[in-house]
Amino acid sequence: MEHIDMLVDWSRAQFALTALYHWLFVPLTLGLTFIVAIMETIYVKTGDEWWKKTTKFWMTVLAINFAIGLATGIIMEFEFGTNWSNYSWIVGDIFGAPLAIEGLMAFFMESTFFAVMFFGWDKVSKKMHLLSTWLVAIGSNLSALWILVANGWMQHPMGMRFNPDTARNEMQNFWDVLFNPNAVNKFLHTVSSSYVLASLFVVGVSAWYLLKRREVKFAKRSIIVAASFGLLSSLYMLTTGDQSAYQVAHTQPMKLAAMEGLYKGEDRAGIIAFGILDPDKKPGDGKDPFIVKLEIPGALSFLGYHDLQAFVPGVDDLLYGNDKHHIAAIQQKIDEGKKAVATLKAYKEAKKSGDKERAKAALERFRAHEKYLGYGYLEKPEDAVPNIALTFYSFHTMVGLGTWFLILLILTLYYTMINEIEKKRWILYAALWSIPLAYVAHEMGWIVAEVGRQPWAIQDLLPVGMAASNLASTSVMITFWLFAILFTGLLIAEVKIMTTQIKNGPEEH
């Protein structure tokens, strides 16, 4: 048992490391492609060579990020086959379609038009080049769609049916999988936050030029485009964040409770604007979860249910049940899940012995308990609770930084428009230091999404412990460190090449 726990922990750590590093490269590509497309559009419209120079510089930065980040995500696919082979088999048919489309789209659309975008200046017409730049932007964002459709399905599985003969989920309705509300919101929130990150990156680098009193015209023009794009994206991100919270409240209430450190459910539940959790707090102990907190009353009810008076269940309600609000206890779900496991076993044995009647009866009973299958593998109700402190602090860091970015983008845009940005050196310093903060916010968002859904690999159907392959934990440990070294090397290369390019400036492109 200890070996299995250690193996699962190392497998999770390895996947988290890969995803977190991969996610350092992706958002800048998703957003910067649109920023260069907007800049090039201005160039084509005005014919101003300054805009061409500006576009080409940011395109080079994009190329560096794209090249270093390229294929870092493929490691996760290796891990699916080796560390998570049980999971891969069980979800295979659902993941296969979106990932295959992603692969084809990334290869044909991005690769073809990427070449035209970089090699095609002065070789194809201005309009053709511009079209290629926009297609790279759209193509890279559509690639993200397919990955997030797969992830959205894990958070809220739908459009499939479990086949007890093959042990695989089979797709029943492609459109249900594609338009899964969780996936749609996840995609929109992820790409809009990526646009904000890319905008902050451009604004921050431009601020550095202004602080150094060089490339002034270039920097101001870049700020106007990026801050405008970032501001619109930031405002849109607020709506996608609101929709994401609504989805989480309805499909993953335990995650929402963890995000807000809410143990005891309440009507008119508030959002914690600032809070420090009591590290000794345990579910069901009746203690106040916070050492200190500043709360906005009713805001969580509104965020989760679009109703200021709505009841929001807490960890204890979800764990131990709440009769008044018709919430079943996890122990009841575990009992149902055990029946699902037992009837699946009975079905398998009846099929093996050729007893069709018994198999049919067992299958009917399995279908009645199937939606609780995953709970049958939990040892105790408390296993259904994610790491609350990590989810809570990650969520609040993300929201706090997101609010700061909105203010910063308004300030930089306003002072650049009235031509006073150079005098506001504190804003320039704040913009520069907000580049790493944008990455922190992005990683925090990913942690909220993935840690908050624990213990599930597939919500309610498959816990991570059952999803992992039975490997030697030492081999997973070795590859963990191997990836840590490889990715750190890539990150150092990225930062070094990019800073050199930025120091050289647009003239040196």
Partner: protein, 71 residues
């Protein structure tokens, strides 16, 4: 034929005129070698594909795993 020639020269000229791109391509090639040849080959076999010969065997293994979870 004219088209294929044009496309070939488009890429050839593009690669020749690259500045920072050459360094980036070198990084990409080293990275792909490490990922696909070293890491994938040495450490990441597709377990179910290598340990079982057919989908039926794989299904049986997973069903056993799902119905007899290890304690």
């Amino acid at each position: 034929m004219q088209w294929t020639k044009k496309i070939f020269h488009f890429y050839l000229d593009g690669f020749k005129s690259m500045k920072i791109g050459k360094k980036l391509w070198l990084i990409i090639i080293i990275k792909l070698f490490l990922l696909f040849v070293v890491i994938k080959w040495l450490f990441f076999p597709n377990l179910l594909k290598t340990e079982f010969h057919s989908d039926k065997e794989r299904s049986q293994y997973i069903l056993k795993h799902l119905t007899q979870p290890k304690e």
